[in-house]
Symmetry: C2
Subunit: 219 residues, 2 copies
């Protein structure tokens, strides 16, 4: 199968452009936990997620993390190819949250086609606008939402993504997602236990009352 | 003068596209304090700032504000034409911080040209990436920087923009820029007074020691 046809604008590229992509794109597998791209690394290329799950995050000067967004099957990871635009003046790191297979399009190839193809340039615009929307949501969260709401929303979202109420995740990992120290996560989780929302055991958080968790988010 | 030539890609548009822009773009003046665009408003059009200064900000459900970025002469305001992209799923409000003159390009005209013009689509990409960089800077600030550093940085930046050490701005306005309650701003400013960094009088903040303010930012 030609995975490149998963690009929504594939049919709008001419034959030369299509052949250039076919000849340069490659499939690569990453294991859960692998770092696909780090802020300071070279311009790896544009990723099209074929299977698995990626996490895009940003890191503070002293090593703290906050998740910007997740990427799932058929999503495009643009910032691993940040050199295609001069005005991208920030660093995003990408890790695999599950075993993940991606199609990689080399940055220089993508850039050269985008320069002459209005469809590809407009598609890129839409991808960036979509990530921008994710980050604006994040600003809304960190600015105006209290930590109990953010944590409850995170647990419900994890449960939705994983398709289970039994979450295998450490307090430190949650802290990295939410940009908060582990101790703050632990303290709030204990409060949730007392309120009958979750129960805790080593490396696992069991969601007990989804309705009440939703009430925390919307309360 | 044809202000449209200020568009960096003007020369890369064909004659039909140029004429369409010439026939539909218009110049409009706004007074200091005017709201040019609010999140819920219709898709006003793309603004090219001819003179003056704009402030882009986002508003919480209960009316709190935080500044996302400022726009100066020759900057492009894209999100006032957010309907040109489907994936822009967030609201940005724009006010004039000074008397401001803008060139307005109607959203539908801009969109129609962008659909076939790779240069205009790529230019739009660069503009969005530039705003994205501003917002990523903001995330870094609100996540990892203490309020004293953010306030000191804001005061130095205001002084730079205005070209004076005497800032005519209220504590409430600063709160709207930084996304903080007025009381928090007032408390920190009083601390700055005690440390000999600024002095306060009604509606005015006098910067006394720029070096020490910089030390707060970088300390």
């Amino acid at each position: 199968m030609n995975y490149l046809t998963l690009l929504p604008v594939w049919d709008k590229l001419d034959e030369t452009q299509q052949n250039l992509l076919i000849n340069t794109a490659s499939v690569r597998k990453f294991h859960r936990g692998n770092l696909l791209h780090s802020g300071s690394a070279e311009c790896t290329g544009l990723f099209l997620v074929l299977s698995g799950q990626l996490r895009a995050f940003t890191v503070s000067a002293d090593g703290r993390e906050i998740t910007l967004y997740r990427l799932f099957e058929r999503d495009i990871c643009l910032f691993s190819a940040s050199c295609i635009m001069n005005s991208i003046q920030f660093d995003v790191s990408i890790t695999a949250e599950k075993d993940t297979e991606v199609l990689i399009i080399p940055s220089d190839v993508y850039k050269s086609i985008m320069e002459t193809s209005a469809p590809l340039a407009n598609f890129t615009n839409e991808v960036m606008a979509s990530r921008f929307s994710d980050v604006m949501w994040l600003i809304d969260q960190v600015m105006w939402k209290s930590f109990d709401k953010r944590l409850a929303d995170f647990l419900l979202n994890e449960s939705y993504i994983e398709g289970t109420d039994t979450l295998k995740i450490t307090h430190e990992e949650i802290g990295h997602h939410l940009g908060s120290p582990r101790e703050v996560v632990t303290r709030m989780l204990k409060y949730f236990v007392n309120e009958g929302l979750v129960s805790l055991s080593r490396g696992t958080i069991q969601i007990i009352d989804k309705k009440k968790l939703s009430d925390v988010v919307n309360g």
